[in-house]
């Protein structure tokens, strides 16, 4: 049954952060001010690749009202950052490798003075030949970005002998798929406030998806103990992976410590574009062969990813792509090889879907082409080759078994889009240049960081002196609704009212190490943490209450407002405030564990997967070449729905991001320079493209004995739509899409009457 407000009953709740959002009262971190604050700016390289010969800050520093002009010489600690590998300079010393590279940073009394100061910094560059294509970058003699060369990472996977197996295939499809540099386009650009405290500590108010990781990274850069840095990191005006890595934090922190005054930075959109991460552009070549009966005999994949100048999570994204070009199918022979290559283009990094978007666009494209070659229904063809429950994961590794693949396939079969897919949507009133088609795609998407990568989880519950139960997690609220989900979990797990407890996140001074709010992991890990803490915390609370009430703990229950009698739950015996006042020892339970990973040696391999089937109906206007999605169906097998509004919002929102990826979004670079500098040329979907029908069917059941509970849904909505649209377009107009975003020119047809006009002329 479709997920919506009316079907959700009381579980559809007003989000705790809602009122402040709809009234504009919510203070985002980029809205903050402090008295005496300065305005920070960053001088970035105009060149995609150059050697720095000299940086002269004299004139800028002499400008009245300028309080600091800092260069690499002023970085007290490690002049580099990166979540996985610290290779991105905070302030460049010898080379700049992309147009976002930072060379200097200034703090001044006003934004205008800061801008003027930037223009007075004299940097002498020796401009170098660039590499702006990853395949060129691999050629002998190509300019090298780093001493270790241009290769960031290689990853592959082999099972059987694909090479020789092709000889036995009845049909082989070879195709190369190209995907664009997509921009996160969070509406709030990067920024924040940096406050040097009287006691020598530094408070950083700046969005991130992992406050404790930012604290660690800043500690390295500033040569300042982590305990002397406080990172306040929520609320956030969107992130989608884009704010997980450091962005403006090093500059604000350096400037604040240097000037001993609060410093505010808030990127313009253009600065956000030039400096920020994007989704890895990938070229994925696939050769896939089947038997006469349609069994997948051999699958060979070559991936080349443009990772830009520095590492960030480029290697991890590539590992993820390798896993997901295999996906939910059975193959007799597999041969995957991939490389992530440094170029002087913009930075590529973490982005919702994490390499799965590119991989699955290509993989599902192969499935549709193979089915057609075989003369089979593309959905039946997938069913024939789909993994079965108890099959190992993509790398032949053990995974937490669910029957998600089968379930989403079955849900798709029951959808109205399926029933109607062979009947043309064309009606008597449809103009002849509008063609309709239906397509579908399947997704198996991993959650968590995977084997071999530190992936901590945990949380804390405590009874505060004011009688509130404090719920502490190191997760971040960037819009996904994590606070609302946590609120509902607390109500349902403990029988509490929303005002019995206080959710505390986004502040490194108070939160436990819960790991990052990434990789579709936070909801799963909050649930798991509460499962682990529920009984110990309840026992602790009830034992304390029993002492106060001079009865046995087993006669008591926790409930709305306080401790209640088990026999008469209507009867409030002791409020949480009274309990807190009575308790002479802290009532605290904390849990720490790691995100479940498979028992394998394969770095990045996942244990938990979410499955989805996506079907769409599109209209192609053959005069303009524009594609319009008029109907979407998403079946998602992710275990129980923890928060219906959040779940629906994640699938709708993720799908919208995929719609842009498929139809309009591309951060265009030429010669290492961004051509799309703002939202006038970088086009994300508007409401006008988003009015089609939309149905989300959650499949909630899990196998008996499953201990992992709800799987993540933060990313999966953003993955399957592109291949589904590509197939629907093919069904509509018979043209195969290999490159995203779809170029309308490829779909334009000269109408017959125009042909006639030409002949007559």
């Amino acid at each position: 049954m479709g997920l919506n407000r009316s079907a959700s009953g009381e579980r559809w709740r007003v989000r705790p952060d809602g009122p402040a959002k709809v009234t504009g009262a919510l203070a985002y971190l980029t809205d903050m001010k402090a008295s005496g604050m300065l305005h920070g700016r960053v001088l970035r390289s105009p060149h995609p690749f150059a050697r720095i010969i000299d940086i002269d800050t004299t004139k800028a520093a002499a400008l009245p009202g300028v309080h600091a002009v800092l260069t690499y010489k002023d970085v007290p600690g490690l002049n580099a950052y990166g979540i996985a590998v610290q290779d991105q300079p905070v302030l460049c010393e010898d080379y700049v490798r992309y147009v976002g590279d930072a060379v200097a940073t200034v703090a001044a009394d006003t934004p205008e003075l800061a801008e003027r100061a930037l223009s007075l910094i004299e940097v002498e560059y020796e401009v170098l030949p660039i590499v702006d294509d990853p395949e060129t970058a691999l050629e002998e003699g190509a300019p090298q970005l780093h001493p270790h060369g241009n290769v960031l990472h290689r990853a592959g996977y082999k099972a059987g002998e694909a090479d020789s197996a092709f000889a036995t295939c009845a049909h082989i499809i070879e195709e190369t798929y190209t995907t664009p540099r997509q921009m996160h386009t969070y509406m709030e650009t990067e920024g924040g406030l940096f406050v040097p405290e009287k006691d020598g500590r530094l408070t950083v108010y700046a969005p991130t998806q992992h406050g404790l990781m930012d604290r660690l990274q800043l500690s390295r850069i500033l040569a300042k103990p982590q305990q002397e840095i406080r990172v306040v990191s929520s609320p956030i005006g969107g992130s989608f992976g884009g704010k997980d890595e450091l962005n403006i934090q090093p500059y604000g922190a350096l400037l604040a410590l240097y000037t001993k005054r609060p410093v505010r930075i808030h990127n313009s959109r253009w600065e956000s574009v030039r400096a920020g991460l994007k989704r890895h552009p990938m070229r994925i070549a696939m050769k896939t062969g089947v038997s006469e009966e349609g069994r997948l005999l051999a699958h060979q994949v070559r991936i080349v990813a443009d990772t830009g100048p520095y590492a960030t999570l480029g290697a991890e994204v590539l590992n993820f792509a390798v896993e997901h070009v295999i996906g939910p199918y059975r193959y007799a022979n597999l041969d995957v090889d991939s490389v992530s290559v440094h170029t002087n283009n913009g930075m590529s990094g973490e982005f919702r879907g994490f390499g799965g978007n590119q991989a699955i666009f290509a993989l599902e494209g192969q499935m549709d082409r193979l089915a057609e070659r075989l003369g089979m229904d593309p959905w039946q063809f997938r069913r024939l080759n789909m993994r079965q429950q108890h099959d190992p994961g993509p790398f032949g590794h053990p995974i937490a078994q669910t029957n998600g693949a089968e379930q989403v396939w079955a849900a798709l079969e029951e959808s109205s889009l399926c029933a109607e897919r062979d009947t043309s949507g064309d009606t008597a009133t449809t103009p002849p240049w509008i063609k309709t088609g239906t397509g579908a795609a399947f997704v198996m998407h991993g959650a968590g960081l995977g084997f071999g990568i530190p992936d901590p989880a945990g949380g804390r519950l405590q009874l505060a002196a004011d009688g509130k139960i404090e719920v502490l997690f190191g997760y971040e609220e960037f819009g996904q609704g994590l606070i609302a989900t946590l609120e509902l979990m607390m109500i349902e797990e403990f029988g509490l009212s929303a005002d019995d407890f206080r959710i505390m996140i986004g502040d490194t001074d108070i939160v436990p190490d819960s790991g990052s709010s990434t990789a579709s992991r936070a909801t799963s890990m909050m649930w798991k943490s509460l499962q682990r803490m529920r009984d110990p915390f309840r026992q602790h609370i009830l034992a304390t209450a029993a002492k106060r009430l001079e009865c046995e703990a087993k006669q008591l229950i926790m409930g709305s407002g306080g401790i209640r009698s088990k026999q008469q739950p209507d009867k409030l015996l002791l409020s949480y405030l009274e309990l807190a006042a009575f308790s002479d020892e802290p009532v605290v339970v904390e849990t720490n564990f790691i995100f479940p990973a498979p028992d394998t040696k394969r770095v990045g391999a996942h244990l938990l997967y979410t499955y989805a089937a996506v079907a769409v109906q599109v209209e192609v206007n053959t005069l303009t070449g524009r594609v319009r999605v008029i109907d979407q169906f998403h079946a998602v097998a992710a275990g129980p729905v923890m928060n219906p509004q959040g779940y629906l919002g994640q699938i709708e929102g993720g799908s919208s991001m995929a719609l842009g990826y498929t139809l309009t979004e591309k951060a265009v670079m030429e010669q290492g320079q961004y051509m799309t500098k703002n939202l006038d040329t970088y086009l994300i979907p508007t409401i006008a493209e988003s009015t089609g029908r939309f149905e989300v069917v959650p499949i909630e059941d899990l196998p008996e004995g499953d201990e992992h509970g709800p799987r993540g849904v933060g990313e999966i909505g953003s993955v399957g739509l592109a291949p589904a649209i590509a197939e629907a377009v093919y069904q509509a107009v018979g043209k195969r899409i290999t490159k995203l975003p779809i170029d309308p020119k490829e779909l334009q047809e000269i109408p017959s009457f125009m042909g006639k006009a030409v002949r007559n002329g």
């Binding site: 407000r5 559809w12 007003v14 989000r15 952060d17 809602g18 009122p19 402040a20 959002k21 709809v22 009234t23 504009g24 009262a25 919510l26 203070a27 985002y28 980029t30 809205d31 001010k33 006003t110 934004p111 205008e112 801008e115 996160h184 386009t185 969070y186 509406m187 709030e188 650009t189 609320p235 956030i236 005006g237 969107g238 989608f240 808030h266 313009s268 959109r269 960037f478 819009g479 996904q480 609704g481 629906l648 919002g649 709708e652 929102g653 799908s655 919208s656 991001m657 719609l659 703002n678 939202l679 006038d680 994300i684 979907p685 508007t686 409401i687 006008a688 988003s690 009015t691 939309f694």
Partner: protein, 168 residues
């Protein structure tokens, strides 16, 4: 985009307008953007900065009741006019029905586009309380939302229209 200060050659003149019904007298350069006047001079940070070229609608406010991108509106264009920001939409003791509908339907996620979105809906419903689907699309196509995919926003707008029909 930089704002030139009075010291750089543009003389500050008085801006006299009302903001959320309250008279405001400000000494600002005539070309200062309304967005920055609201956020920096008046501390009304509910109006959001995002693209600053009039494409995203995060900074939408009402000037004499009509939605405008405050990033494209200069101080002199507001002289003698009435400016309404998201902070001026609700009554003292009650949310505007539009805001209430967004809450009920979950027509927001990160919330950064929400003030501008609410303002645009307010502008639309001040023209007609029963807009067609095309009118809704038209009115909101200048407000970008990256989180919701617009489904929740459309449901919020339909919700409030239905409430008005029932005589809210």
């Amino acid at each position: 985009m930089s704002e030139r200060t009075p010291a750089e050659g543009i003389r500050a003149v008085g801006l006299s307008c009302t903001v959320n019904g309250v008279p405001a007298e400000l000494d600002v350069a005539p070309n200062k953007r309304l967005l920055h006047i609201l956020r920096d001079d008046l501390d009304l940070t509910g109006t959001k900065r995002s693209c600053e070229i009039g494409r995203c609608g995060a900074c939408m406010v009402l000037v004499d009741g009509k939605p405008v991108n405050s990033c494209l509106t200069m101080a002199y264009q507001c002289d003698g006019r009435s400016v309404t920001t998201i902070e001026g939409i609700a009554d003292a003791d009650r949310l505007d029905p539009i805001q209430q509908a967004f809450l009920e339907e979950g027509g927001y996620q990160c919330g950064y586009c929400t003030p501008g979105m609410v303002i645009s809906v307010k502008g639309l419903l001040s023209v007609t309380l029963d807009p067609t689907d095309e009118e809704i699309e038209e009115a909101l196509s200048g407000n970008l939302c990256r989180c919701t995919g617009y489904g929740g926003i459309l449901r919020s707008v339909k919700n409030v229209i239905a409430k008005y029909k029932e005589g809210y």
